[in-house]
């Protein structure tokens, strides 16, 4: 986040896009609710789904998944057209405005309406409202980043903020809401293929030199490494031969499960270090038992860049060891002793190599942590970035064109599936599913389908449906809800017994490499019908189009009438006994088709 969590309470207007905040970041969601309910904070929500926040928003822009750039460009079109921009800010602090103005010119609200499905009047209203306040902040979640155009989406949002001067002040800014507790910290620490700690490029010789000296090695690799997806590529000549996986469960969390499983199975050697026997651990060659957060000391960095202390409260079970200790021991075994440092001493090493963490020392973290950049012992930390000037000097407008998502609906796969999280569970579920209260609160996953689609598919609440994409198929119970949009299905990925990543798409953003979890083309079919059609061509046709299928049987008017009135015996006399649910489905379907 460029700003702090507390800033959410200070903005006059919040624009929340691609984030179901009350479920995924509940305490921030709460601040938004409090603002709207008690302080008159204006709220614009852009989300294909009608989330809790959308229900209380001033404006809900219900755009089609993956059309964010078109939507924001159109808002900027209106702001420029109606001269609602912050000229002073643009002049003093930015560059590239002309290019941006040129690009968004063609994104009229009417044009954007065609792409996004959002009424042009709403786009205009939202643009005016956004530009009409002194302090507006943008909050976004994975709904922005989990797209083939994720990087573009973020750039467009930055454009919107710069255009209106909403950067570098309290109550403004661009705030990505990070999913996992320490995803910010893992990035800060250089657990990325292209950067060392503190985002220092591996290609930068000087930065490498500093690390080489500190680590006592001669030549650190200069070529950026492979991303997770690339490591797991199964294309000949790509991917890796061995993997070491600490505290992740890619089988459940990565797109296209069959592919993930295959690539991990193909490895010559796989080590998994975890607290539970996860789906991924099961295919490992060696499993190393790790400590849970409550069993060790350390730090986490939250979404507002606040480095906070984690403290040991419990003794670990059996012989489980802290992850830092395991790595230390392994490095020793491999002939490169790290010098047995405890977490506090490791942080000293981090501070010495990482300018933005330069002032992070355990003795300073006893209160409520420090927000980086915190460059030296006396630095108080940084609640909001880009005050007065951007890191790079002038803020650059990156004009971005709309590109459609990688997958789109077709006659074979007529629904878009978006995946996400729900309030009671977390990630692959290995923790929350083992928590009695959380699992009881929400023991079963569902696929959410809009009533309009349900009607078309002839399915009712609680039915089991088969959801298939080009990559695979799963069965899941249906929840019919207008929280999702027509043509859009939603499913969370917390249940290993309902592994939605069997069907998701591996298409990913070319630079950020984030998979497009928000847009997979799928089809949904009543599960009994799907099963029946596996080995029966008639049912296969029935599933596609019952009217056409039955036409093959040259029916007399009496027979047609009998079927239409619900007399399924006739059909059974041709195709054999039908499952009860299938019978009902067929009757409803035939009536609906005005047979």
């Amino acid at each position: 986040m460029t700003n702090s969590i507390a800033d959410v309470g200070k903005a006059e207007l919040l624009f929340v896009i691609g984030s179901n905040t009350t479920e995924c970041h509940p305490i921030i969601g709460r601040l938004i609710r409090q603002g709207v309910k008690f302080k008159g904070t204006k709220l614009i929500i852009a989300d294909p789904r009608t989330t809790e926040l959308a229900k209380m928003a001033s404006i809900h822009l219900r755009h089609k998944p993956g059309t964010d750039v078109a939507l924001i460009n159109a808002m900027m079109h209106v702001i420029i057209e109606e001269n609602l921009l912050n000229k002073k800010f643009i002049q003093e602090r930015t560059e590239g405005f002309e290019q941006l103005a040129e690009t968004v010119k063609k994104y009229t609200p009417e044009m954007a309406e065609k792409i996004t499905g959002v009424p042009s009047t709403d786009i205009i209203k939202a643009a005016r409202m956004f530009a009409g306040v002194d302090k507006a902040a943008v909050l976004y979640g994975m709904g922005i980043t989990q797209h083939t155009t994720g990087t573009d989406n973020v750039k467009t949002l930055a454009n919107l903020l710069m255009l209106t001067g909403n950067i570098g002040r309290e109550g403004t800014g661009l705030s990505p809401l990070r999913g996992q507790n320490n995803v910010q910290g893992a990035c800060d620490m250089g657990a990325l293929p292209n950067v060392l700690t503190g985002y220092q490029a591996v290609t930068d010789q000087e930065k490498r030199k500093a690390a080489e000296t500190a680590w006592g090695v001669s030549a650190l690799p200069a070529k950026p490494g492979l991303t997770m997806g690339e490591m797991m590529s199964t294309k000949p000549g790509s991917g890796v031969k061995a993997m070491y996986i600490m505290g992740e469960n890619p089988i459940i969390t990565d797109p296209d499960m069959r592919h993930t499983r295959q690539s991990l199975t193909n490895l010559e050697f796989l080590v998994v270090q975890d607290i539970f026997p996860t789906e991924t651990a099961v295919i490992a060659d060696v499993i190393l038992p790790a400590m849970a957060y409550a069993e060790k000391d350390g730090t986490f960095t939250n979404t507002e860049r606040r480095v906070q202390r984690v403290r040991k409260a419990v003794e670990p079970p059996g012989e489980a060891k802290a992850d830092w200790e395991i790595i230390t021991l392994l490095a020793e075994k491999m002939g490169h002793p790290f010098g047995r440092k405890n977490p506090e001493q490791i942080m000293e090493e981090i501070a010495s190599l990482t300018p933005i963490y330069g002032g992070i020392h355990y003795d300073r973290l006893n209160g409520y942590g420090l927000q980086w950049p915190c460059t030296d012992r006396n630095h108080p930390g940084t609640p909001f970035l880009h005050q007065g000037k951007f890191n790079r000097g002038l803020g650059k407008f990156h004009a971005v064109e709309y590109k459609p998502p990688a997958e789109s609906v077709s006659s074979g796969f007529p629904l878009i599936l978006t995946t996400g999280r729900i309030l009671e569970h977390y990630h692959a579920g290995s923790m929350t599913r083992r928590s009695e209260v959380l699992d009881k609160l929400c023991p079963n996953g569902t696929i959410d389908i809009h009533p309009e689609d349900a009607l078309k598919l002839g399915i009712v609440d609680g039915d089991i449906v088969a959801i298939a994409s080009e990559r695979g198929k799963i069965e899941a119970p249906v929840r019919i809800t207008d929280e999702t949009a027509p043509g859009l299905a939603f499913m969370a990925f917390h249940w290993s017994e309902l592994p939605v990543n069997v069907v998701t798409s591996t298409a990913s953003d070319p630079s950020a490499k984030i998979p497009e979890f928000k847009v997979s083309a799928v089809k949904a079919v009543l599960a009994v019908l799907d099963r029946a059609s596996q080995d029966n061509a008639f049912f296969a046709r029935l599933a596609e189009n019952p009217v056409e299928a039955l036409k093959e049987y040259d029916l007399t008017p009496e027979e047609k009438a009998a079927i239409a009135s619900g007399d399924i015996r006739k059909i059974e006399s041709w195709v054999g006994k039908l499952d009860e649910r299938l019978k009902k489905w067929l009757i409803a379907r035939l009536q609906q088709e005005k047979w």
Partner: protein, 376 residues
């Protein structure tokens, strides 16, 4: 805003006022109530409906005081403190009013302290004792006519209306802090009770299970299921989402028995969501890995595991397991080069661990093939 918990440096600079409470000169920041001024100066005034995180409510009438120049008695939790105010917290009038108030509350309160989960931590008990009402009186005061069923529908907590004193703290917490509004005071007079919309069991309401109401209930009316009181607390950070709420783990022996939000934290100001508050027991789950495991010879990776984990893996010592890992990684590095090894770090592990693992990847293995789940 709901929280006055963390006063920022700015707010602290505001003007102070001076008042006299029970003959003692007391300084207080401008804008506080008489009650807060007294509490700030360590002068105890009994309260039941007051909560520092919530707007004043003035329902229980226990916090009454006399103030020079004002007629009769006033509730200190709703009266703003003013400069030069003279306040008396112990006068015959005050005592009589408090006594009546507590007796009224007790009269409708049905419950046996000895079997109550809140025993010893109950604010009603504490206030009653302070006002000189002993255990024996409790039973005499109780009319005990209206016994309502306990709502046990929620997996995390029970609602026992019989112990409810209608202080409204839960209702206000749900409204002002959680922003949900799942519960409200319904019905009037004798039949009054805290109710969900349509008086449905709480589990079937719009309740989001955040537990803010439970954390603020002064009595045993709202208690977590299977409560065990903690013997010590350890301050740490919630292990779930990126908000990073500051928490206290309530410990009993080597087990976490509760989680409390940290009211001083600028991140969550004491608030928690359902995961942070109730999702702590996974740590003690029996399926935790406790020993290094090595795949048995000839166990193919395509076998589906349905609980028969032990058939596929054998236990090993740390030494043996780490030796094997070191040997195999070295072999593979030798054979195909360092870039043939990939490492996944974890957004759930600490900074120190992420740092060490990327150092291990770069300095020991010699590749930049390190990544984590940031994208998922």
């Amino acid at each position: 805003m709901t929280t006055t918990a963390s006063t920022t440096a700015e707010e602290k600079k505001v003007a102070t006022i001076t008042l006299t409470i029970d003959g003692k000169k007391v300084e207080a920041p401008k804008g506080v109530t008489v009650l807060e001024a007294a509490l700030g100066a360590d002068i105890y005034i009994p309260t039941l409906c007051y909560d520092p995180d919530l707007k004043p409510y003035g329902a229980c009438r226990l916090c009454v005081v006399e103030i020079d120049g004002m007629r009769g008695i006033v509730s200190s939790c709703t009266t703003p403190a003013a400069d030069k105010m003279v306040v008396h917290t112990e006068t015959p009038k005050v005592n009589q009013a408090r006594r009546i108030a507590i007796e009224l509350i007790m009269a409708n309160h049905i419950g046996d302290c000895l079997t109550c989960a809140k025993n010893q931590q109950c604010e009603l008990q504490k206030v009653a004792r302070y006002l000189g009402i002993e255990q024996e009186h409790f039973d005499r005061l109780r009319k005990g006519t209206r016994v309502l069923p306990i709502d046990k529908s929620h997996p995390a907590f029970d609602r026992d209306h019989n112990k409810c004193i209608l202080c409204g703290r839960c209702v206000r917490a749900c409204q002002e802090i959680a922003g949900v509004g799942a519960i409200d005071l319904a019905y009037r007079g004798y039949a009054a009770k805290v109710s969900t919309f349509g008086d449905k069991p709480i589990h079937d309401s719009i309740c989001e299970s955040c537990g803010e109401c439970i954390a603020r209930c002064p009595t045993g009316a709202l208690v977590p299921k299977r409560t065990r009181q903690a013997t010590r607390h350890v301050k740490t950070i919630c292990p779930y989402c990126g908000v990073g709420c500051s928490i206290y783990l309530g410990m009993r022996g080597n087990e976490i028995v509760e989680v409390q939000g940290d009211r001083e934290s600028p991140v969550n100001k004491g608030g928690l969501c359902v995961k942070g508050r109730f999702g702590f027991d996974f740590v003690n789950h029996p399926s935790r890995l406790t020993k290094p495991l090595i795949r048995k010879e000839g166990k193919g990776k395509d076998i589906q595991v349905n609980g028969n984990f032990k058939d596929i893996f054998r236990e090993a010592t740390w030494d043996e397991a780490l030796d094997l890992v070191a040997k195999r990684l070295n072999q593979i590095k030798e054979k195909y080069g360092p870039d043939s090894i990939g490492v996944l770090s974890s957004a759930k592990c600490t900074n120190e661990e992420n740092y060490l693992l990327q150092k291990f990847t770069r300095a020991v293995i010699g590749t930049n093939n390190i990544d984590h789940c940031a994208r998922l």
